[in-house]
């Protein structure tokens, strides 16, 4: 086990976005978080990464064989402890090159980030590590390209590449597939499977094809609450889950014009 939450709750005024979520992630696991829009998936991510502070409950991270409490830690602290994330809305350093995007993330994990006197090119290790990551995700050919000129799909990949830099233990991927055409689903699946081979991964995803093929376990959220937490096949057959997704409609409801039979 590497990451766990206890009774995690976040309220925005009267809205409870995340409600008493108990969640635990194994250190070699790929867990998908699914749920209809507004279920609290991204809020859960924002709580896990310190972007938001929970209203109540706690988050703990396994560090060197002991749990350490990271509830309310800042995003930079969480990142430096080895929990990295990618964003649902592409968030890269637009005016920098692809290589620099990953290099700067690699530099954050090193000890030289504060150096303000030596030329940045003197630190070969960051550049080499960045090249390795670009090689791994398949962006090596684009290394010198400015990020804003990349295609949408390539930017989504760069999102993951930045999160990979600095050798994190846990990767939180927020809809890596968002807005990418259905033809490239295969590539995304390959990429996620690849990064899941040596990281613990939490994945928010709407595309069921991806969820079913990459995840070891699926956590279903609805209105901030966990309504299912099981293997993919079991979740697929779960009635509560289907109900949540279909908004309470039964099969055949639409044929009768939505009126009660």
């Amino acid at each position: 086990m590497i990451l766990r939450t206890e009774r995690l709750t976040k309220r925005f005024g009267g809205l409870t976005a995340v409600n008493n979520v108990e969640f635990a992630l194994d250190s070699s696991e790929c867990c998908a978080v699914i749920g209809p829009n507004g279920a609290g998936k991204t809020t859960l991510f924002n709580l896990l990464t310190g972007t938001l502070e929970p209203t109540s409950g706690s988050i703990s991270l396994m560090r060197d064989g002991a749990w350490s409490d990271i509830t309310g830690a800042s995003p930079e602290r969480v990142a430096s402890l080895g929990v990295h994330r990618s964003f649902q809305l592409t968030s890269v350093f637009e005016a920098s090159t692809v290589l620099e995007n990953v290099r700067i993330a690699e530099q954050a994990a090193g000890v030289n980030a504060h150096n303000c006197w030596r030329n940045v090119n003197a630190f070969d290790e960051h550049v080499e590590a960045a090249h390795e990551i670009l090689e791994r995700v398949g962006l090596a050919d684009q290394a010198t390209v400015v990020a804003e000129t990349l295609s949408h799909g390539e930017k989504r990949t760069l999102e993951i590449a930045i999160a990979l830099a600095g050798d994190p233990d846990v990767l939180l991927l927020d809809e890596p597939n968002a807005g990418v055409s259905s033809e490239s689903v295969g590539e995304i699946i390959q990429l996620i499977e690849d990064v899941a081979s040596d990281h613990a991964v939490v994945l928010i995803e709407h595309n069921m094809e991806i969820v079913m093929s990459v995840s070891d376990r699926v956590l279903v959220l609805n209105q901030g609450q966990v309504i299912a937490n099981d293997e993919p096949a079991a979740v697929r057959g779960d009635e509560t889950v289907q109900k949540a997704y279909l908004g309470g409609y039964e099969r055949g409801d639409l044929n009768t014009g939505g009126e009660p039979v």
Binding site: T49, T51, S74, P75, E76, R77, A79, S80, H84, R85, F87, S91, V92, F93, E94, A95, S96, E100, R103, I104, A105, Q107, A108, A109, N112, A113, H114, N115, C116, W117, R118, N119, V120, F123, I162, A163, A165, G166
Partner: protein, 428 residues
């Protein structure tokens, strides 16, 4: 090794060319404006004295760009640091600063002025960096204006603080060079500076000041350049590009911003110190007032935001244009040139509405420099939004230092090839 040295030299070729151009400027000015040369040159070229102001204010504008252009946080109260540096130097010279004798070497004063400004920036930044965007600009402006009002009314500073303070405790000029060694340093100032005999010719006080101030500015530029190209500098750029992401990859951006702010204030303080050292006086208006920051912003936008050297060129453009359009007596610009060269009959010619050419020239040119500078500023924002250096960068696809040598050698090769083809064509 040879390859690295060569690459290094190539990367800095442009820097060396600019330095060389700046270094020979006083000589060029002297030759072109004295006897025999076309009279227009006096109107066109900024005086050496003006160039001294371009240098120290250019340094201030660069320090402004260092924080505003590279981290994206518009430091609209940057004058606080410039004014602090300037007031500090004058106050020490007048014996008003405890523990520091008026005779303290000027170089140490510059360093202390920078340190004082940097400490002030830590205080201001600790509060201001809780905010972002326009709110950050407004709160830094607020701090600067508070200092402005305070320095205007603090009677300890001098007899009439509203009119500023002048150096009264010292008669000799502030010396730039090796501290405490007179033979290895020179005095600066329009009147307090001393001419120097060199290789059989005499350099005037302004020219000596130009080189001395220029030396400090170049050292500061190199220091800022190094910071920008260091890992720390890259984090500054990352903050400008996407601060949320910079935090998400593990940077405590608050401390990086505070550090960068403090560093930029250091150089602003040094610039203020140079300004006071050369002018030997400072007023709340030309030290702390928000329009001082406004001038730095103007220089940055004309020269290129987020290009360290740009603001210096921007300031040169700004000052050059102001002098070119100014009234007689401050450098002789277009107005004087037209008066002198058009001749009496032409000036008396009636053009429209009973106005003569002479009257038209007076109406449009006399004392309207700021108007034209304003128009140029608007045109720059509209049509050259990246400024002079930024636009060249975009054209070349990289920093000037990296790309310009390659671009030049490409052009030269093309020209040489074209000439060769011509020549061989003629032969056949």
């Amino acid at each position: 090794m040879a390859l690295i040295t060569r690459e290094y030299a190539r990367d800095h070729l442009i820097h060396l060319l600019v330095l060389a151009a700046l270094a020979i400027y006083p000589a060029v000015y002297h030759v072109l404006t004295n006897g025999g040369a076309p009279t227009g040159m006096v109107a066109l070229l900024p005086r050496v004295e003006t160039m001294v102001a371009v240098l120290y204010f250019g340094l201030f504008a660069m320090s402004f760009d260092f924080i505003s252009g590279y981290t994206g946080y518009l430091s609209f109260g940057h004058a606080a640091f410039y004014g602090t540096g300037a007031y500090f130097v004058v106050l020490v010279a007048n014996g008003k600063v405890p523990l520091l004798a008026p005779e303290t070497p000027f170089i140490w004063l510059l360093v202390l002025a920078g340190v004082l400004a940097a400490v002030l920036a830590l205080v201001i930044g600790t509060f201001s960096f809780r905010l972002t965007g326009v709110y950050f600009a407004m709160i830094t402006l607020g701090f600067a204006q508070v200092l402005y009002v305070f320095m205007r009314d603090w009677e300890y500073l001098g007899a009439n603080p509203r009119d500023g303070i002048a150096v009264t405790g010292l008669t000799e000029g502030f010396r730039i060079g090796v501290p405490g060694v007179d033979s290895l340093s020179v005095a600066i100032g329009q009147l307090a500076g001393e001419p120097i005999d060199l290789f059989g010719s005499t350099l005037g006080a302004s020219t000596v000041s130009y080189y001395a101030v220029g030396l400090v500015v170049v050292v500061c530029y190199i220091a800022m350049q190094r910071i920008i190209h260091s890992p720390f500098g890259r984090v500054m750029i990352a903050i400008r590009e996407n601060e949320a992401r910079a935090r998400a990859i593990g940077y405590n951006t608050f401390y990086y911003k505070l550090g960068a702010f403090s560093m930029s204030a250091f150089f602003a303080g040094v610039a203020g110190g140079l300004f006071a050292g050369f002018r030997r006086s400072v007023t709340p208006e030309n030290g702390y007032y928000f329009l001082v920051t406004g001038d730095a912003l103007l220089a940055s936008i004309i020269g290129g935001f987020g290009t360290l050297a740009g603001p210096l060129y921007g300031r040169l453009f700004d000052e050059g244009l102001r002098e070119f359009l100014s009234k007689s007596g401050s450098g002789g610009g277009l107005l004087v040139f037209l008066r002198d060269s058009l001749g009496h009959p032409a000036m008396e010619t009636v053009v429209i509405g009973g106005m003569t050419v002479g009257e038209l020239v007076e109406t449009f040119l006399n004392g309207h420099a700021p108007l034209y500078v304003g128009i140029v500023f608007v045109l720059f924002v509209l049509y050259v939004p990246n400024g002079m250096v930024g636009t060249v960068r975009d054209r070349l696809g990289g920093t000037c230092a990296k790309q310009l040598p390659a671009w030049l050698s490409d052009r030269l090769t093309a020209i040489v090839t074209a000439i060769r083809e011509r020549v061989s064509g003629v032969r056949h």
